[in-house]
């Protein structure tokens, strides 16, 4: 799955972003090469996942711009 443009400021140097998701039959999602935008999305999908929430929170702290759908 290509994430396309990642609006996180530190991703401005990304020429294209790429991360991978593996959705297991039981619904568990494994993710690798997680970009800041994907971390925020995954944290929204599963707010109880502390590991992803911490990473999303870091990117929210660092981000100067908020991603909103349609931007």
């Amino acid at each position: 799955m290509k994430a396309g443009e990642d609006p996180h400021p530190s991703s401005r140097s990304n020429q294209s972003c790429s991360c991978e998701l593996l959705i297991l039959p039981g619904g568990k999602i494994l993710a690798q090469n997680v970009t800041p935008a994907m971390a925020r999305l995954l944290s929204d999908v599963d707010p109880a996942n502390d590991a992803m929430r911490l990473r999303a929170d870091i990117t929210r702290t660092e981000s100067k711009h908020e991603f909103t759908p349609g931007n």
Binding site: D6, H8, P9, S10, S11, R12, S13, N14, Q15, S16, C17, S18, C19, L22, L24, K28, L30, A31, Q32, N33, V34, T35, P36, A39, A51, L54, R55, A56, I58, T59, E62, S63, K64
Partner: protein
């Protein structure tokens, strides 16, 4: 004219960038008789000969982007992934690029350093060089480091299978090492990664790294390998590197050629994952996330 006794001559210490630049030249020369990894093939990569990794003299990059997957201490990190590796792990999640040192596009060290510096300016906490196995293209990795600001946190993500020559060239360059301790015994290492004498090499390198860098030891928990790999690795860490940061990865992803090994055709069970973390806590390992 003032004269100085020899033992008090003022010594100009090199900044990291200058040191990396010097080491890059030396590493480039070392490709003429390549012994950068513990295989010590001794081939002349500058003349087109190739060893076990099949790598030529020119590095290629297959990914360069800001990521947050890694340990919290270093993220967001601008991760520069170089193709090629000296191991052949059947379960490699980047097998297509790691097993092929010619995957991706040619690395332009100057352009990559510019992008990394921009990422740091825009909020990335560190710059990480990884693979595959970045030791394979150590000259290029050092050339990137030579072009990065001295204040940048540099992270070296490695399989821990480098040679003493590589360690000497790396000394003092990278602030943080994220080093794999994949296998708790040599038989699993031979069967799953085609690497002999794994334990002695990697344990020695982990001890070196613990003394020379801010070390995070990473272990990927693999299905069916709790007793034979994680338990011995954890016990060794507890005994020989007490207090070292340990990142226990429990999200095994059956990738690449995992299917050729029956036990690797699935992800880790919740039971095994729980037991692995219990073992770590019982050994008082310093787990980091």
């Amino acid at each position: 004219m003032r004269s100085f006794p020899v033992n008090t001559l003022p010594v100009r210490r090199l900044g990291r960038a200058e040191l990396a630049a010097e080491r890059a030249i030396e590493a480039r020369r070392a490709l003429s008789r390549c012994c950068l990894c513990a295989h010590r093939c001794g081939v002349n990569r500058n003349a087109g000969e190739t060893g076990l990794c099949h790598a030529g003299p020119a590095a290629r990059v297959f990914s360069a982007q800001t990521e947050v997957t890694d340990e919290l201490q270093i993220v967001p990190t601008f991760a520069i992934a170089l193709s090629g590796c000296d191991l052949r792990c059947a379960f490699c999640i980047t097998g297509r690029e790691s097993w092929n040192s010619r995957a991706g596009r040619f690395l332009d060290s100057e352009e990559m350093a510019r992008r990394a510096t921009a990422a740091l300016r825009d909020g990335a906490r560190s710059v990480m060089i990884l693979g595959g196995e970045p030791t394979v293209f150590l000259p290029d990795a050092l050339e990137i480091a030579a072009r990065l600001p001295d204040f940048a946190m540099l992270v070296w993500k490695t399989n821990g299978h480098g040679s003493p020559e590589a360690l000497r060239l790396l000394d003092g360059i990278f602030d943080v090492w994220v080093a794999d301790y994949k296998f708790g015994n040599d038989a699993c290492a031979e069967r799953l990664a085609r690497v002999p004498d794994y334990g002695r090499t990697v344990r020695g390198n982990l001890q070196w790294a613990a003394e020379h860098t801010d070390l995070i030891v990473r272990h990927l928990l693999m299905p069916g390998h709790l007793e034979c790999c994680w338990k011995p690795a954890a016990e060794w860490l507890a005994r020989h590197l007490p207090g070292v940061k340990v990142s226990l990865q429990s999200a095994f992803w059956p990738a690449w050629k995992s299917a050729s090994h029956p036990e690797l055709r699935r992800s880790c069970s919740a039971v095994d994952t729980k037991r692995a973390f219990e073992l770590a806590r019982n050994l008082s390992l310093n787990l980091v996330s």
